[in-house]
Every structure is written in structure tokens, then in C-alpha cells.
């Protein structure tokens, strides 16, 4: 039940973010889907493992999905990946850090800020990993869908 609710709300949230970023109408569903699956991986892994690792795993999945969607629908990868990673952005941690700064608890604040920074870094790592994987695979499997004409 808990997971079902989270699946639904993360789908809606990511899809709505697609609208905020003016993503094409036909891609909104896929935006929501990549956000939903990324968040599912995150909430399944997070109680058992380090949050950095779960973020990397979740963004990796989002990246792979975005690459797939981008190939299938012939759209730039960024459309799908941006909406997908939005639930994983450490907004809560950054907020907590800011709050501690205001309350003059600098030690705790710096700790939280460092954590938020690490999590943003792991989002980047997940995305880059998936991109590298995508490039490796594309080199193996020649693209058939795209006409290659005037390429040297």
C-alpha cells in the first residue's frame, strides 16, 4: 500500500514537472514513468543501504530509461532525464542545512550541506554512468533507424 501510494504520487509529480519544463505533450507520460521507477528504486534501497548508493542506482535507472525513450521517440535525452531525477534531488537535506545555518548550529549545518552536495554528485555519477553505458552499447549495435548519409 505504502509503495503503491508512492508510485502514484511520484508519477504525478514527475509528469507535472514535465509540464513545468514545457516538455512536449507526447512525452509527459514517459517523464512520469522514468520519475516513478527511479523513485521506486530509491525507496526500496534507501532503508537498507547508504543513501548515496541508492541515489546512484536510482539515477542510473532513470538514465538508462531516458536513453531508451530518447531512441524510441527520437527526442533529446534531456527531456526524460530531467523530469526523472527531480524526485531524487536532495531538496529536503538542503533545506535542513539552511535551517540549521539560521539557527546558528553551524556544525550540523555544514554536515547536512556536505551530504546534500554528495547526493547531487551521485545524481551526476548515475547519469554519466548510464550515458557511458549507452555509448558503449550503441557502438556495438549499429543504428538502423537513423539514416546516415553525409557523414564522413
Amino acid at each position: 500500500m505504502y509503495i503503491l501510494v508512492h508510485l502514484l504520487i511520484s508519477f504525478i509529480a514527475s509528469g507535472a514537472f514535465g509540464i513545468l519544463f514545457n516538455a512536449p505533450k507526447r512525452t509527459l507520460l514517459q517523464c512520469g514513468l522514468s520519475g516513478m521507477l527511479g523513485w521506486l528504486v530509491y525507496i526500496l534501497l534507501e532503508p537498507r543501504m547508504e543513501s548515496v548508493f541508492s541515489t546512484v542506482a536510482a539515477t542510473f535507472l532513470v538514465g538508462v530509461l531516458s536513453q531508451l525513450f530518447a531512441r524510441v521517440y527520437k527526442k533529446p535525452v534531456i527531456i526524460f532525464s530531467v523530469a526523472g531525477i527531480i524526485p531524487l534531488v536532495p531538496g529536503g537535506l538542503a533545506y535542513d542545512a539552511m535551517r540549521r545555518f539560521v539557527e546558528n548550529e553551524y556544525n550540523l549545518a555544514v554536515e547536512l550541506a556536505a551530504k546534500a552536495f554528495l547526493l547531487s554528485g551521485s545524481i551526476a555519477i548515475g547519469l554519466v554512468l548510464s550515458e557511458v553505458l549507452g555509448q558503449l552499447l550503441i557502438r556495438r549495435i549499429p543504428r538502423q533507424t537513423r539514416k546516415r548519409t553525409a557523414k564522413p
Binding site: 533529446p76 534531456i78 533545506y95 551526476a124
Partner: protein, 252 residues
């Protein structure tokens, strides 16, 4: 008609520049802009072209002996629809489906287009996502409604202030301030329970997620100047939001 008057040799250059300009203004990654411009230049028969793209300007040289052209980018928004449309044109140009003149006309059309979604729909989307984020960050079910309202009003305030004053920092700061005050008010009249969760959910539409991703992707692609300047932009946005919320906490 500027279109007709364009010298035959100038048009391909203009097509490339216009495509780059639209993409950069719509929030594409810098390396993708350079890539697209080079591909289009190749397809249009400009071999040996170079483009140097930063978030605030594009320098494009069509050939070894040609003079370089410069375009300044002032406004940057997020409009993935336009990125995808330019991408389509580049693809068609590459496969030879359309000519340079047709591409130019299409690009001009895209440039003058408005955002894909009207403003009320964007506000509704912001409100909805805020409500959902409040729940996702382990808020209680009763925090959904205040999160929804705060997020919608906050995003509306951001759009309004951004239109009034062209300083993005100020718009974000004010929006965060309004969100904080509103959330505190809701908790006071016991419409929501967890103030933190409501505020986190509501500021999510303002969070620079796209900027951070683009910054890192640009850095990884070797575009150090663009990556750092986008990172600075993202940091400034995050700082504006944080400062707005911080003011609320010092007040109460």
C-alpha cells in the same frame, strides 16, 4: 523581407546561429548546442566550422577563412519542446528532407512560438507536484492540501515577480519568502501539521534541478567554462530559495 534579402552564402550560417540560439535559450546543455550546430553546418556544406558556446553567448565560425559571428544570449528559460523541435529540424536537415531555406523558416517559427503550456496550467502543475512532493518526503496526508496551495501560490508569485522585475534572484527570493509565510500561517490555523515537509514540498518547483544536471553534464563533457557558470547560476538560485526561507525562520 530579411529572408529573401539574405545573401546565398550567408543563409547556412544564419540557420546554424538561430538553431543554437533557440536551443541555448530553451535550456539545452552547452555540449548539445555545439554538437547540433556542427552537425547542421556539416549538413549545409560548411566544412571546418567551429562553434564556441557558453551560457551567455555563442561564437560561430563557418570556415577557416571566414569571420566569426557572435550572438549574445540574455534570457534563459526552460522549454524542452523547443529543444526537441530544433533537434527534429537538425535531423531532417541531415537526412536531406528539407533545404536550408525551409529550415530557416521553420526555425523562425519556433523562435516566435510561445511556451507549450499556458500559464494557469503551469501553476496547476506546480501546485500538484508540490502537493505530491510533500507526501513523498514523508509528510502526513493532511499536509497535502497546504503543500498544494503553498506550491501553487509560490510558483505564481515567482512568475509574477519575474515578469515585474527582471532580476531572477529577487523573484526566487520573494517566492520562497511567500511560501514560508503561507506555510507558517497554515500550520498556525492547524490546516497542516509538519511545517518542514510543507515548505520542502512547496519550494520543489523552484529548485534548480535542470541547472544542476546541465552543469555537471557540461563539466563531464569538457566544457569547463559553461559548467562552472551554470553551476554558479544553480548555486545562486538555491541560495535565493534558502535565504527566503531563512528570513521566515528568523521572523518567527
Amino acid at each position: 523581407m530579411n529572408d529573401m534579402a539574405a545573401v546565398q552564402g550567408q543563409e547556412p550560417v544564419q540557420v546554424c546561429l538561430l538553431a543554437g540560439k533557440i536551443m541555448l535559450q530553451s535550456g539545452a546543455e552547452t555540449y548539445r548546442v555545439e554538437d547540433t550546430m556542427t552537425r547542421m553546418a556539416d549538413a549545409l556544406g560548411l566544412s571546418g566550422s567551429h562553434s564556441y558556446v557558453t551560457p551567455t553567448g555563442i561564437v560561430f565560425q563557418s570556415g577557416e577563412t571566414e569571420s566569426a559571428k557572435l550572438i549574445r544570449i540574455v534570457e534563459r528559460t526552460t522549454d524542452l519542446q523547443k529543444v526537441s523541435a530544433v533537434n527534429d529540424i537538425s535531423r531532417k536537415l541531415h537526412s536531406g528532407d528539407i533545404t536550408a531555406a525551409e529550415a530557416h523558416a521553420l526555425l523562425r517559427e519556433i523562435e516566435s512560438e510561445k511556451h507549450a503550456y499556458p500559464m494557469p496550467l503551469q501553476m496547476a502543475a506546480a501546485a500538484l507536484s508540490s502537493g505530491c512532493f510533500t507526501l513523498m518526503f514523508r509528510g502526513q496526508a493532511e499536509d497535502f492540501l497546504p503543500g498544494l496551495l503553498c506550491g501553487g501560490v509560490g510558483f505564481a508569485a515567482y512568475l509574477l515577480f519575474h515578469r515585474l522585475v527582471k532580476v531572477k534572484f529577487f523573484a526566487e527570493f520573494t517566492a520562497a519568502l511567500i511560501i514560508g509565510l503561507l506555510a507558517t500561517g497554515f500550520v498556525q490555523i492547524s490546516l497542516g501539521r509538519d511545517l518542514d515537509k510543507i515548505i520542502i514540498g512547496s519550494v520543489m518547483p523552484l529548485v534548480p534541478g535542470l541547472l544542476i544536471t546541465n552543469a555537471v553534464r557540461d563539466l563531464m563533457a569538457g566544457h569547463l567554462v559553461s559548467g562552472l557558470s551554470r553551476g554558479a547560476e544553480a548555486f545562486l538560485t538555491a541560495f535565493a530559495i534558502g535565504a527566503g526561507i531563512a528570513v521566515v525562520f528568523t521572523l518567527i
